[in-house]
Symmetry: C2
Subunit: 351 residues, 2 copies
Amino acid sequence: MRATVLHAPYDVRLEQAPDPKLEGAGDAVVRVLASCVCGSDLWPYRGDPPVREPRRMGHEFVGVVEEVGDDVSAVRVGDLVVAPFLWSDGTCEYCVRGLQTSCRHGGGYGGRDRAGRLVDGGQGEAVRVPEADGTLVPVPRSPQDVDARLLASLLTLSDVMGTGHHAALAAGVGQGSTVAVVGDGAVGLCGVLAARRLGASRIVAMSRHTSRQEVARRLGATDVVEERGEEGARAVAELLGGIGADCVLECVGSGASMQQALATVRDGGGVGYVGVPHDVELPVRELFRRNVSVGGGVAPTRAYLPELLADVLAGRIDPSPVFDVEMPLDDVAEAYRAMHERRAIKVLLRP
Amino acid sequence: MRATVLHAPYDVRLEQAPDPKLEGAGDAVVRVLASCVCGSDLWPYRGDPPVREPRRMGHEFVGVVEEVGDDVSAVRVGDLVVAPFLWSDGTCEYCVRGLQTSCRHGGGYGGRDRAGRLVDGGQGEAVRVPEADGTLVPVPRSPQDVDARLLASLLTLSDVMGTGHHAALAAGVGQGSTVAVVGDGAVGLCGVLAARRLGASRIVAMSRHTSRQEVARRLGATDVVEERGEEGARAVAELLGGIGADCVLECVGSGASMQQALATVRDGGGVGYVGVPHDVELPVRELFRRNVSVGGGVAPTRAYLPELLADVLAGRIDPSPVFDVEMPLDDVAEAYRAMHERRAIKVLLRP
C-alpha cells in the first residue's frame, strides 16, 4: 500500500509499505477513507524533534473495517469507524476513568504496539489498529451514505474536535461563560464550537486571518480580536465588560500563546491548554495571586467520541469547516507545505 | 491598646498602639475576642521577605463590633463577627463573582486602606476594618453564648478552614473522590475536613507527627502515610488501588511539597494549592502529558464564610481541633516560637 513517511525536515514522501495484516487477536485492519495533517505533525516536519530515522506519519483517520482478530467484538468487518489519535485498551484504570491517553497499554500510530511491532500511520491506505475494541468507535451509518461533509466532520472527531472540547472542559466552560480562544488553527476553531456547545455566552476568537475569522464566526464566535499581547488582552476585556474572560482556550502550545492566555483570562478564571507545550513556562506566583487555574493536556478524544459523534450525526454540531482544503493522498507533501505555510487551515487527504 | 509588631526576624513584640477609631464612613471598629498566628506569618517572622520596617501582624480574628461608620448597614454595634483575612468592598466585578481576594479596593490587615491609612493587624485588642459591609460576616449568636470550642471553630473561618476548602475545590474534590493532603499544618488539617465535607471517599493525610495524625483522623482522614517523596507517593497509590489520588491538596507552598503533590496525584487528577508558593516550579510538559490540572491560590474565604458558618453552627463540621494551644495575647512572642518550632499546630490568642 502507499503510506506517508517523514525522512528529514521538510522531506515527507508517499511510499510503498507492506499491506497491513492482523498480527494479534485484538487487532483490526482499517481501510482508510480519509485522513489529514495535524498541527502537531508540523513540529517533526520542521525538525523539532529532529528526525532520526524515517517515520510513518498521521494519526487521524476514518475508515472501514476490513479484518478483525479473534478477540475483537466491538467492531465488525464492514463497519465505518472513527479512530481516535491514540489507541488504548479500554480496560485499564485510566481507560475506565475516561483518560485513554494514559492507557497502560496504549500508544501512537507510527509507533510500536506492546509486542514491539510497527503500527501504521494514519496517512496511508490502511492501518492495523491494535486494541481495536478499546480504540475504534463504530459509526452507525453505511460508508456509502456518508457525504463529503459528514466524512470531514467525522474525521475531526479523531483529534481536533475532541481536543477543542478538552480545552473547553479544562478551562471550565459552562452555561454563560465568557470565553477567549488563543489560536486559530483547526483546534482553536473546534474550541470555539466546543465552547458554544457547552453554553458559553460570549466567545472571542483571537485571529488575524480573515478566512479563519470567518470560520470562527460560522462555528460560534461572537467576536473577533486581531490584536495580540497586552493590547489583545485589553481588547478582549473591553468586549467583556471590563475584566478578562472566564475561560481561555490555549490552542497553540508556544510560550507566547500561553502568555496571551494568561493575560486574557480574568482573575479566578481557567486556562485550558491542549497544544503540546514548547518553551511554555507557568508563572506560579502570578497564578496563585490571581487564582488562575491551568488544566488540559493530551486530549482523550476516545472518551468524548460517543457524545460528540451523536451531536454530529444529529446535526447539532458541524465541525467540517475546519477542513478548508482537500487533496488526494498522492499530494501529501504539498498538504504539509500548505499547512506549514498557513495557506490551509487543515488538509483532508483521500487515499 | 496592645498590638503585635514584627521588628526583625524572630523579634515580634506586643506593644502599645493607638486605639482604633472610625476613619471612613465604611469602617467598623471590632473588639477582638480571639485571633491567632498563621503559617504565613512565619515567613516574614523568619525574614522572608526581609523586615524593612516594623510591621503590624495578624489577619485572622473574631470579635464584637464596637462602632460603625455611617455607610455601614450589614453589621451593627454588638454583633459577633468573623473577619476574613482580607477586606473587600463586596461590590466590584471580582467580589460579585466570589473572588474577594482580587477586590479592586481590598487589602490586607497591617497594610493601608484606599485612603492610605494604616489598618490594624488582627493580633491586637481591636481592629479598624475598612469596607466593613463587604468584609465582616455577622454570626447569629450572642457573644456571651459562644464557648471556647465554638469560638475556635469560628476563628478558623477567617482563614484556615476556608483555605482548606479552597484547596479541596481547586483540586476538584467531589462525591467519591480519593484525596491526598500534603501538609499537616492547620490548613492541611482543614483540607482533610473540607474533603470529607465534599464527599471524598478516601482521604490520605501525609504526616509524620503523631499528634497531627490524630487530629487528621478526627477531622476525617481515613488513612495516614508517613513516607515522603516517591516512597510516599507509592504508599498512597497502594492504599488507593494502584493509582494515585484523584485530588491532591498542596497545603505548604514549598517546591518539595508541590513535587510531592505531583508525584501523588493520578494522571487526569487535580492539584489544589493554597500555600504561598516559595521556590515552586510547575513542570508543564509533565502536567500536559499526564493531564494534571493545577488550581488554587489566595483563598477567598469571604466567599465561603456563609456556607461554612452555617455548617459550624449546625454542628456539621468542627474545625476547632486545629487549635491545639491557647495563650493570652501577652505571650504572642512565645506563640510565634511555638509555631516556628512546630511545637504547636496553631495557637489561639486571647487579648
